[in-house]
């Protein structure tokens, strides 16, 4: 049994309980780090995700109520007055993320409509917490001017102090909060 465990940890791929194959996480990390490096080298900036959400919200509100955007000190930084929030590097990058993940889903046979949740809770409870969690997370990204990809990961790549602080705040808090929400997970 000991030998069996050791062999598994050196395999390039690993089988998770759902029967699909995942890359060795260190290989995944090297690929991700290389993509991140390329992003900086080619475009002078790192990866991101929450910025595209912000731009989409600003653009949508601007389409529905442009005068409101003009008078809102937050929206007007990103939309209105000839600004084109959707014609933005991050928005294109996020479209790429969706496509890349989709392709990976095809390759590793993970395309499936499902609500992934602990067997100890219902789908409904999982979805309610996903909604609430997303709401809080979205709110937080605006205050911190980024998320785990943009502020934390990309920030760390360029040794940004703010990036490191946000990374520690997110993961430090999540460790404590996960314990509070443990009934949903284990």
């Amino acid at each position: 049994m000991e030998l069996g465990t050791q062999k598994n940890t050196t395999d390039m791929k690993k089988i998770k309980s759902d029967g699909t194959t995942y890359l060795n996480p260190y290989l995944g990390g090297v690929i991700l780090g290389t993509v991140l490096l390329l992003a900086f080298y080619i475009s002078g900036r790192g990866l991101g995700a929450s910025g595209a959400v912000k731009n989409t919200v600003a653009a949508t509100v601007n389409t529905i109520a442009p005068e409101h955007v003009e008078h809102n000190a937050y929206y007007c930084q990103f939309a209105g007055n000839g600004k084109e929030p959707m014609s933005n590097w991050l928005v294109y990058e996020v479209l790429g993320v969706l496509a890349g993940a989709f392709i990976s889903g095809i390759v590793f046979n993970r395309l499936k409509f499902k609500v992934e949740h602990s067997p100890k809770i219902t789908s409904r409870r999982r979805l309610l917490f996903a909604l609430g969690g997303g709401l809080l997370f979205g709110f937080g990204t605006q205050l911190a001017r980024g998320c785990t990809s943009g502020a934390a990961l990309s920030g760390m790549a360029v040794l940004s102090l703010g990036g490191y602080i946000t990374m520690i705040a997110i993961f430090g808090t999540a460790f404590i909060a996960a314990w509070i929400f443990r009934k949903n997970w284990i």
């Binding site: 294109y92 997303g134 911190a144 980024g146 360029v158 703010g162 284990i186």
Partner: protein, 184 residues
Amino acid sequence: MWDNIFAVLIGMGFGFALEASGFSSSRKIIGTFFGYDFVVVKVFFTAAIVASMGLLYLSYFGLVDYSQLYIQPTFLTGAIVGGVIMGIGFSMGGFCPGTSLCAAAVGKLDGIVFLGGMFIGVFLFSESFPLWEKMYDSGSQGSKMINDAFGISPELFTFILVLAAVSMFYGASWVQKKVKKVEY
């Protein structure tokens, strides 16, 4: 135009790497906090050291100039308070923006709902901005780099980061062996 094409290609690499590593699964992601799956620690810190070392090397060879790169600006209050709020959202929802995109792309309904929740959260922040404006703008340090905060060179800091990351990787394997098995 090429800017946008590269953006899509880079995004595709990002999304593929994330999903292939398992980040479309909220139960895999949350595993770090319960000790049964440290994929987040391994992928995140490997990527961070590869990218930060890579940039230092490129800069050394004159291929990259840090003053031309976008460095996440430091706003102390927002970085901390926003990070704490994100941390709570993370453990409630089991995702972050990038991973929820990957989850949504492969059909995870919880990922799609998390994404929807984020749009609402961003909207609420924007609409109530006057309440947060002062907090949002406070504690500005500009594009400060962390090694400067400690008064050491970027190379030394990165070296220490590599040591810390490798220790975490060994620690993670050790914890994972000791923890009660979770079916996920």
